[in-house]
């Protein structure tokens, strides 16, 4: 057995390298090789994005030479009515999706954790399946649904489709937090005289708040960036931004896309940054209130 092999002929200190059997990379001093691997990795993954951002400020059309700083591509982008409409469409869709999906998802999470309904297991499975469904399958079935019931494709159809697929993300995030909270605290509240509604309002929701906000921001980011679902369910105009980008790229690379891409990047990153920073900001406010003796 392995242990016997390990003991036989291997004294505590010497570490014999089995040169004949190990793959060459392992022979290197591990931290050094891996470290440079990581550096190379970061360069490769960040470089394309940085380059796109850089060239979005290029004063010429070239993708090879940086000829000077200019904001013309951004101006082109914002002056193009179609593109501008797409930007606002994407933001609008993301906002609505965020609100509706968060509400539905939170309710679903609460129901799954706290209710002992018989069909709870089935709903749970139903909630998990969208998470593993490839987007193209989702897109196709959504498209078929809308056309079969005679609904015109538009921003609304995009919203409906995206909400359907965002609910599960919210439920999973909120449910984790809710389960961690434990039943005790809610029972303690009821024990002390709070009705179910009051318990929800005064105890459960405040404790759940960070998870709900994080889930909401996640949905916003996912929805804003979404392509495949939007592609299948969008009308002709206005279209969400990623769909427009896709069409543009099909016709060839133009510098305006650099600008659009960079802008989208900023919005996505800002959303994620907000999701990470928010709990810390809120914490500080609570602390300050306590210091000043205000009511919590």
């Amino acid at each position: 057995m392995s242990i016997a092999r390990g003991q036989a002929g291997r004294l505590p200190f010497p570490r014999r390298r089995e040169a004949s059997r190990s793959a060459p990379p392992r022979e290197f001093d591990r931290p050094r090789f891996l470290k440079w691997f990581l550096v190379a990795f970061l360069v490769f993954t960040l470089a394309p994005i940085v380059i796109v951002a850089l060239f979005s400020f290029n004063s010429s059309k070239s993708l090879q030479n940086f000829d000077g700083f200019s904001l013309q591509w951004y101006r082109d982008f914002l002056n193009d009515t179609q593109l501008r409409e797409s930007l606002f469409a994407s933001l609008e869709i993301a906002l609505v999706t965020m609100i509706v999906a968060t509400i539905l998802g939170t309710m679903l999470a609460y129901g799954l954790v706290r209710t002992r309904a018989r069909f709870g297991g089935g709903v749970n499975v139903l909630m998990l399946i969208p998470l593993v469904t490839p987007e193209i399958v989702a897109g196709v079935s959504a498209l078929l649904l809308f056309t079969q019931i005679g609904m015109q494709l538009s921003l609304a159809t995009v919203m409906i489709a995206q909400i359907t697929f965002s609910i599960s993300y919210v439920t999973v995030v909120v449910r984790a937090r809710l389960a961690g909270l434990g039943r005790d605290v809610e029972e303690a509240a009821m024990d002390l005289g709070a009705t179910r509604l009051q318990t929800l309002r005064l105890i459960t929701l405040p404790a759940l708040w960070p998870a709900i906000v994080a889930a909401a921001l996640l949905v916003f980011a996912l929805s804003f960036d979404d392509f495949v679902l939007s592609f299948f369910t969008t009308g002709t105009s206005p279209q969400p931004l990623p769909v427009r980008i896709y069409s543009s790229i099909r016709f060839g690379v133009t510098p305006t896309i650099n600008a659009i891409g960079t802008l989208m990047m900023l919005i996505s990153l800002a959303t994620i940054a907000l999701a990470v920073a928010l709990p810390r900001l809120v914490g500080r406010r609570e602390y300050r209130a306590v210091l000043l003796g205000e009511e919590a």
């Binding site: 390990g6 089995e18 090879q64 909630m127 891409g261």
Partner: protein, 274 residues
């Protein structure tokens, strides 16, 4: 409480899937509108020699993507968890940030870089290495590369979680027992983190099979994947029921994988408890 969310999901997710299944057996009228019917030959057509290579290619590309993601992602996660120290989460953040950017924008970045007028060709010709430019796009390699670039984060995160959960003392003990770092890895580290690798593989494989963005933008007609095929059916002069059939076949195929994965995970959980 359950009701609104559950009802929505039921109506807008489960039902459409049913519709997809239904249409897949249908046919079209003269105008190309889908009709319901019983035409199982749609499914035969899926496996027609004309289309079968596309299916196989999709699976092949997705599999290659998974392998590459493991090969690249595992060392990254390993370095960060073992040698990251205080900066562990900072490094993880740095690694993950590119993946927060829109997939489309990222693929576009590669298109811009690798196209004939792109930066890479520009540098190469400036260096005098090439005169007419190298054809980067439109190959299987770029498509798979695009897929890897798209989904790598889904592999890194589960592996990171699995490695992070491991007790470093176990690796030390392994080193004492096995001597060489490679053996330690093979007998100790890898088996322990295997579930993480499996989870990452599933998270990469499932979307990769159905992806069409990468193949469309970075490849050409020779690199078509099943996603492109499906997309054509619905947006070209295509056949909706056939598209539905393709979708259903793909979904079933992936479901089989999911079931295998879930059983493996359940078994591992049981063994861990024992």
């Amino acid at each position: 409480m359950l009701l609104p969310g559950g009802a929505w999901l039921l109506l807008l997710f489960a039902v459409p899937l049913g519709i997809t299944l239904g249409i897949s057996f249908g046919t079209t009228d003269e105008l190309g509108n889908p009709l319901y019917g019983w035409h199982p030959e749609n499914y035969e057509e899926v496996f027609d020699p004309l289309f079968a290579p596309v299916l196989l290619r999709s699976v092949g590309y997705a599999a290659a993507t998974v392998v590459l993601c493991v090969a690249i992602g595992y060392p990254i996660a390993y370095y960060i968890t073992r040698f990251g120290g205080r900066y562990k989460y900072v490094l993880l953040g740095l690694v993950v940030i590119p993946f927060l950017v829109n997939y489309l924008v990222r693929i576009y970045a590669w298109v811009a870089l690798l196209s004939d007028e792109g930066l890479v060709n520009g540098v190469l010709s400036d260096l005098g290495l090439t005169t007419n430019g190298v054809q980067f796009l439109n190959t299987a390699y770029t498509v798979v590369g695009g897929l890897v670039y798209g989904y790598l984060a889904f592999m890194i995160l589960p592996i990171f979680a699995a490695l992070d959960r491991m007790d470093p003392a176990v690796i030390e003990a392994g080193k004492d027992l096995y001597g060489s770092p490679w053996q330690t890895f093979r007998h100790v580290t890898w088996p322990t983190t295997f579930q993480g690798v499996l989870a990452g593989s599933v998270l990469v494989f499932l979307p990769a099979v159905g992806d069409f963005v990468s193949a469309q933008l970075l490849g050409g007609a020779d690199t078509y994947m099943v996603g492109n095929l499906i997309q054509q059916q619905f947006f070209g002069a295509g056949n909706w029921p056939f598209g539905a059939a393709l979708t259903t076949v793909m979904m079933c195929f992936l479901m089989i994988f999911m079931i295998f994965y879930l059983r493996s995970a359940a078994r591992a959980a049981r063994e861990a408890r024992a």
